[in-house]
Every structure is written in C-alpha cells, then in structure tokens.
C-alpha cells in the first residue's frame, strides 16, 4: 500500500507538471496577443485631452474661391451626377449680406462638430456619435437611414446617400441609404495631418482656415482664438460647435 501511494503521488506530480506546461503553452500566446491588441488602443486611442476645431477667417475667404469644396469632393469622391437637391454637401460655400450694413461675406459651412450635437442625441441606434476628441461621425455599419439626424441638425450639414455609388475611395467609404457628413478627414488627423479643405485653403494662398487642437494652449488655433474675437453659428442654441468664424 505504501509503495503504491508513493507511485501515485509521483504520477500526480508529473501529471500536474505536464498539464501546467501544456496549458501555459496554449494560453500564453493568446494572453500575449490580447495584451498586444489592447496595448494599441491604450497608447494610441482618442482621448478628450484633445478637442479638434477650426477657425475660419471670413475676411480672408473670397466668393470666387471654391478650393475647400473641390478638395472635399475629390477626397471623398462626392462626384455623383444627381439633381442639386440630393447632391451630397459635406462642405458648401455660402454668400451672405448683412441686412443692416449691406456688408457681404463668403464662408464655407460644414458639420460644425458640436460639443453637444443634436444629431447624436436623436440617433436611435447610436450610429451618430462623437469621438472623445470632439469629431462627430456616422458609423455607417449601424446607420439605418432614418434621417432623424438630418431633421435635428441646425446647420443642414448632413446628406443622405440617395443612390447607388460606384468607384468609392477606399479611405472614405460611403453607403447607399445611410447618412453622411464632414468627417474632418479624420483618418488624416489620426496620422497627424490636416483635413483636405484646410490644406486646399492654404494652397490657394488665402489661409482662411486654421485647424488644430483647441485644448493645446500652444497650438495656432488656441492662440488665435485667445487673441481675436470669433463667433459660432447659432451660438444661441448652446451647442458649442468646434468650428469658429472670425469676422462674421
């Protein structure tokens, strides 16, 4: 009996040892891969430390220039030949005249990337969402095309894809039957670059658009916003848009 007990103990030890090694060998790579996959979002993920915004100097924007709109159309391939009423307008130029002074203005208007976006509030599925850094986007995978966000947006900044699309740009996929709007070229921002409209505005020499992190006190936009007086569209609605206008 004693001999048998000793053998049993040894067998059990061997068994536990072998099983532990096997289990470790199977689980460890998974645990490591999981760690690697998690590490990316922890290190690179979007945080509310940043608030992306834009300052548009209306005095520098001219009515004959359409550079920002053309750049946007090219970048996102918004080229479908459809009637004007259903044509996508991620950014549009608007001419204004002050009713009191007759002074004329020209300015671009796009999604204002509000801090309190009504489109995000009303979206039933959560497809309209705001990233932690303030960029308002549409998740095209869960947008059901109810268009309630278009009803809610005070800036008419969203378009509905009314027709079948061909030759889409891979970096900016669009979807028939879903709602879309200015993304601030978010994939460029995540690579440390500027939205295409801002780049185009710089190229034309007008430099009417300053883009950057409004939370960074050293950024060009934060310094400019501190120095000059600017306004936002329909500020009375208290949506706190990320797009500011100077000289309006």
């Amino acid at each position: 009996m004693l001999i048998m007990n000793i053998d049993n103990t040894q067998n059990r030890r061997d068994f536990i040892k072998t099983t532990s090694i096997m289990a470790g060998a199977v689980i460890a790579p998974g645990v490591m891969l999981y760690g690697v996959s998690q590490a990316y979002s922890e290190l690179e993920g979007v945080t509310s430390d940043k608030r992306w915004g834009m300052l548009i100097n209306v005095n520098r924007c001219t009515s004959d220039c359409n550079g920002c709109v053309e750049a946007c159309v090219k970048e996102h391939n918004l080229t479908e030949e459809v009637p004007a009423a259903i044509k996508p307008q991620w950014i549009r130029k608007v001419g204004l005249r002050d009713k009191q002074t007759d002074k004329e203005y020209s300015l671009p208007i796009m999604c204002q990337h509000c801090e309190n976006p009504p489109c995000v509030d009303v979206c039933p599925t959560g497809a309209s969402f705001k990233r932690a850094d303030g960029i308002v986007l549409v998740d095209k995978h869960i947008c059901i095309g109810c268009r309630y966000c278009m009803m809610a947006c005070p800036y008419k900044a969203r378009s509905f894809v009314h027709e079948h699309l061909n030759d889409q740009n891979q970096h900016s996929p669009r979807g028939k039957g879903t709602v879309e709007a200015c993304t601030l070229c978010v994939y460029h921002i995540d690579r440390g670059e500027k939205p295409k409209c801002v780049e185009a505005c710089e190229k034309t020499g007008h430099k009417a658009m300053i883009f950057g992190d409004m939370n960074d006190p050293e950024s060009e936009i934060a310094i400019a916003l501190k120095k000059i007086s600017s306004t936002t569209l329909r500020a009375d609605m208290k949506l706190n848009p990320g797009i500011h206008y100077q000289g309006l």
């Binding site: 459809v82 004007a84 204004l96 002050d98 979206c123 959560g126």
Partner: protein, 403 residues
Amino acid sequence: MKNVTFCVIKGSSPLFYAGIAISIIFIALGLYSAYNMEHHGHIITGMNNQIVWGLPHVFAIFLILAASGVLNVASISSVFRKIFYHPLARLSALLAITLLIGGLCVLVLDLGRPDRLVVAMTNYNFKSIFAWNIFLYNGFLLVCILYLWFMMERRMQQYYPTVGLIAFVWRLILTTGTGSIFGFLIAREAYHTAIMPPLFIALSLSLGLAVFLIALLIDCRETRCSLGENILHRPKTLLGVFIAAVFYFVFVYHITHLYFTGRHGIEYFLLAGGGVFTVLFWFGYIFLGTILPLLLLYHERFTHSRSSIAFASVLTLIGGLSLLYVIIIGGQAYPLEIFPGMEVTSSAFFDGASMHSYVPSIWEILLGISGIAIAALLTVIALRLLPFMPRSLADKDIDESLT
C-alpha cells in the same frame, strides 16, 4: 345586466372579398414600391436633402396616431367604467393592433436601410426619443394583445381592468413619444415646442375615433348587426369634442408662434405664403377637417343621419392627414435660419431659398396607402377568425343599466 354575445363575420359577401382583394393589391403595390426604393435608392422618391421625411412619414404617423387613439373606446369601457362601451372594446383593441402594424410597416420600409431592422432592435441610444418609441410601439402591441386576451378569456376577466389601465397609460406615453419626435427638435422653428405631445394626443383621439366609427359602420353592415342610435350617438358626440380639442391645440400652437416676433416668418409661411401648405391648412384641415365635420355632427339638420356620421368621420381623417402634412413636410419646407440677421446671397445647398420644394412620387403614395391596406387586411382576417363583433348593437339589446 344583459349578456353581450360576439360573433365572427361570415365572410361571404362581395364587400368582404372586394375588401380583401383591394387590400392585397395595395399591399403588393406598396411592397413593390419599397423594393424599388431599396433597389434604386431614395433618388426615385420626391424626398431630398432638404425634405428628408416625406409622404410615407405622414401616413406612418397618421396610422400610429390612429392606432393609439382607437384604443380609447376600450379605455372608456374598462378604465372609466362606462360599461355602455363594453361591447365595442374588442373591435377597438383589434384596430389598435392592426393600425399600428400598418404604420410601423410604412415607417420601416421607408428607412434607407430597412434590411437593418435587426440593428435597430439591438443597438439603442437611450437619449433618442426614436429609440424609446421602438420600445413604446412594441410594448403597445404586446399590451394590446394581452388586453384583448383578458377581454375574451373568461378566466382572465378579473385582471381585465388592470391591463386596461396599463394600456391606457401606455398609449398616452406612446403618443407623447410620437409628438416628442418633433417637439424635441431644436433646429426647426415649426417644431421645438412642448405643445406637440398634447396636440398629437388630441389628434390621435379624433383620428382613432373616426377610424373606429367607419370600421363599426362597415362591420355592422357586413355582420348585419343591428346598430342602435344610442350606441352611435355617444361616440359621435365624443368625436365632435375631440375635433374641437385638436383645434384648440392647433390654435394655441399658432398663437404661441405668432406671439414670438422671431417666429413670424414660419407663421406667415404656414398660414399665408406657403402655397400648398397654406391651402392644406385652411381648406384641408380647418374647413374639411374641422368646420364641416362639426357641422355634420352637431347641426340639427344632419346630426341624426348615419351618413352624416360616416361622412364626418371620413372628413376628420382627411383633415388629420392635411394637418400632419402641414406639420411634418411644411415644417421642413421652411428653410433653417442658420445666419440670423443675414441675407443669403448664394448657396449650393438652397440656404437662401424661400421654400424647399417637395412633390411626392408615386412610390411614396403607394407605400403610404399600403400601410392602410395592411391594417385593413389584418382587421378583416381577424374579424373572420375570432369573435370581435357583438351579435347585436340594437338599442333593445344594450341594457339601459349599462348607460
């Protein structure tokens, strides 16, 4: 207390078969429209990036309001204990279910991605009134089915008043939710007012009762159920009260807007310069939908005629549709004021337009009508299968003690 017995409709008359055939034709046309809208995209409709909700929404909300309102007849019986209405309660709850299904079908088929219905059922943003409404509509269907079951199952009779109360409260919350879809929109001047939910509740009561009276008159003809003057007189009087209630809320809505100088623009648009919307408001809603039915229901010369009641009910529905068209589409046709104090001199997106245009396409009209057809077909099938209709509604068979 006299026992009320219920029966199924015989389903052998030409009216029965004609009703089913017409409903199926319109449902098929509606499904074909939805298929086309899905296949080609909304480019084939009259909707665009300015008028994002078109005629299908008008029909869908019309049906949803009628659904919540039609249950009122059952509620009067079980919640307010007016047992006089008890024989009508089954038909009332049945119509609530079928009208809601019809409305929801239109709403879903008008989505840009109706194939993603599962997404809508599994992803919720609870700050969205739309998301609440998904729960409210589905819950309403469930509560109405329970209500009907308890009504029809003798063993469950003791719980009938409780579920009746739940259904009544639920329908009030549901219509509040439907009105809030518009009331919660800060962007558009025509909406963004807390009067929307009570206005929608009043409208649901008038539309619901009008639908009920029409269905009752048709069904009684089909089942050869004798319909007494008393049982028609009370709902008829009530319909007049509901029509007046809707007018009161519409009046207050416009007076409130007219008081704010900043909203004179939208008021001028709706009441004077809005083209089709102005015509629909004054002729469609005020004249056809309010003045005329009130005359038919209350004027000594017409008040005793059944045709007057039927005609008044149809006019109430036309008035309700007109009002919803003005609210839903007129509210979008009036341009957003993005730049207060400025005049828009140029825009590629109609920012300076005095009015956004919208002409409904045939696809939208067919899809909208198919919602009514779905409700009608489901009602007829249910009436054929289960005893929803009382065998007699003659005055002698309705116990006076019930009054």
